[in-house]
Amino acid sequence: MRYELVCGIETHIELATNTKIFCNCTTAFGGDPNTHCCPVCTGQPGSLPILNKKVVEYAVRAGLAVHCKINNISHMDRKNYVYPDLPKAYQISQYDEPLCEHGYIELESGKRIGITRIHIEEDAGKLVHENGYTYVDYNRGGVPLIEIVSEPDISSPEEAKEYAEKLQLIMRYVGISDCKMQEGSMRCDVNVSLREVGTKEFGTRTETKNINSLNFIQKAMYAEVERQTDILEAGGSIIQQTMRYDDVSDMISPMREKENSDDYRYFPDPDIIRFQIAQEKVDEIKSSLPELPFDKLTRYVNELELPETTARQMFKYRRVAEFFEGALAEGASVKNASNLITGTIYSNMNTEEDKELFSVLISAKQFGELVKLLDEKTVNFKMAQSTLQQMLESGKSAGDLIKKEDLAGISDDDLTKWCQEAIDANPKAVADIMAGKDKAINVMFGHIMKQSKGKADTKKAESIIRELLS
């Protein structure tokens, strides 16, 4: 029998607000246990939660970035369940009036993965299990989250990974979260079921919770599909349950905790007034969104005519793209600016994280000035590279680093003189060049570069040498 995969993903993303969703405690990561807490986020009787404006704004940003419809009126619900990470014995979430609905993310193939809804809710505390005790830290309790629920439109582990990757990139771009899966600011729950090819009905699904890397999404799905296929082929049936993926053993297994009681007895939270966001405000937020990453990629390739590989190296990191575009605004050329970024600047940045942060000592304007010197051939590429390196290390401008006499340029007379000297001093190289061994010309460049202190344009020198030899 042949099966096809049906998958939907629920993604939790921690919003980068300063304060928690219902109180003024900091959302800072870490800290000593229970030091970012107050009566509200520890659920003390009589305390009153007050919704953070920024949380609503960020969730609307997220929704608009993935083409959602924004509900102008929305409210919070209580989701009841008893567990020590939840001091009130309920989580404040949204049930039947989520802030955003009906969006999508488009994959490279053109296929759209629907987004059912995006709602806001509070995070739970952190539990440490040790020696028969559970130790609870509520610093994370009340940190704002959005939950993004996809339609079951995903039909392969590769599509699942691409969906999550795109979602991460878009959410980083609109500035609502750093979406670091390893640190838990983005976590995915993956729902997987199988059905016979050709049938319409969904099979029983399982949910693999809290996956914390893009690669593990794919691996966990392979493991779960294999497990379900084995069961179905042996004539068994799938039990609806929550699974856990262990990346070390690459194994998937049911979670011990009974987390399948799906009756959360949702009801509207009477402590929090229903809220309204005017359409004008939604439109204002929409117009404040930056160009979205995949629109940018398309523009880089189609309008700036960047090679796709170069465009892909830059569009992913919002700060890099801003720096690049800042230099273009200064009048720098696309080609030289992109080559210096992906060459010299990236050689100083070893990790994805470095590029994401993109902390450089120079401004886009300073960079643009240097690129222009290169565009005008006042400096050659090699010199631009070394000057840029010095700029990155010192924060100085090109004008301060390149000496006046260096900038004066090289006269054609000087260059011709040095070319002639090089020819005279290297008879063997001359013979090689005449014999068609083009590489021999590099021998000549040594002399010319020494005389010109590295400023000579080698292309120009080559044409002079060839002329002198002809």
């Binding site: 607000t17 300063n18 304060t19 003024n24 405690c25 900091t26 000593d32 246990p33 229970n34 030091t35 970012h36 807490c37 107050c38 009566p39 520890t42 007050i50 919704l51 953070n52 404006k53 920024k54 949380v55 609503v56 704004e57 009126i73 409210h75 020590p84 440490v128 299990h129 028969g132 005790y133 559970t134 130790y135 609870v136 830290d137 509520y138 011990r256 905790e257 009974k258 949702y266 009801f267 509207p268 009477p270 007034i273 229903r274 809220f275 309204q276 966001i277 005017a278 405000k281």
Partner: protein, 97 residues
């Protein structure tokens, strides 16, 4: 359903409260009254959650929501002052499953 004195004793233990015999008797009666009062909700809420929502049909505008400004949290000693704590954590004995 009447709340018994034994149940009050259990709740007091969970809440780390100590009461005299007299108080226990008194609370048992008061608990009955409180539950009876809560039961009156059954009579008024027919439409379930929609009914509850219409009670709070008030709306707050986006502009009136809370500004995102940090105020210092409570010191850890205060947060854990009424609980069994270990190194600043709340500690819970795990129930056997």
């Amino acid at each position: 359903m009447a709340v018994t004195k034994t149940e009050i004793e259990k709740l007091a233990k969970l809440g780390r409260l100590r009461f005299s015999e007299e108080e226990l008797e008194k609370f048992a009666g008061e608990f009955d009254d409180i539950i009876a009062f809560a039961d009156t909700i059954n009579e008024s809420v027919e439409g379930g959650t929609d009914e509850i929502r219409s009670v709070g049909s008030q709306l707050v505008s986006f502009e009136e929501l809370r500004e995102d400004e940090v105020i210092l949290s409570l010191p850890n000693e205060k947060i854990v002052s009424n609980v069994e704590d270990v190194n600043g954590f709340f500690s819970v004995k795990r129930s056997k499953k």
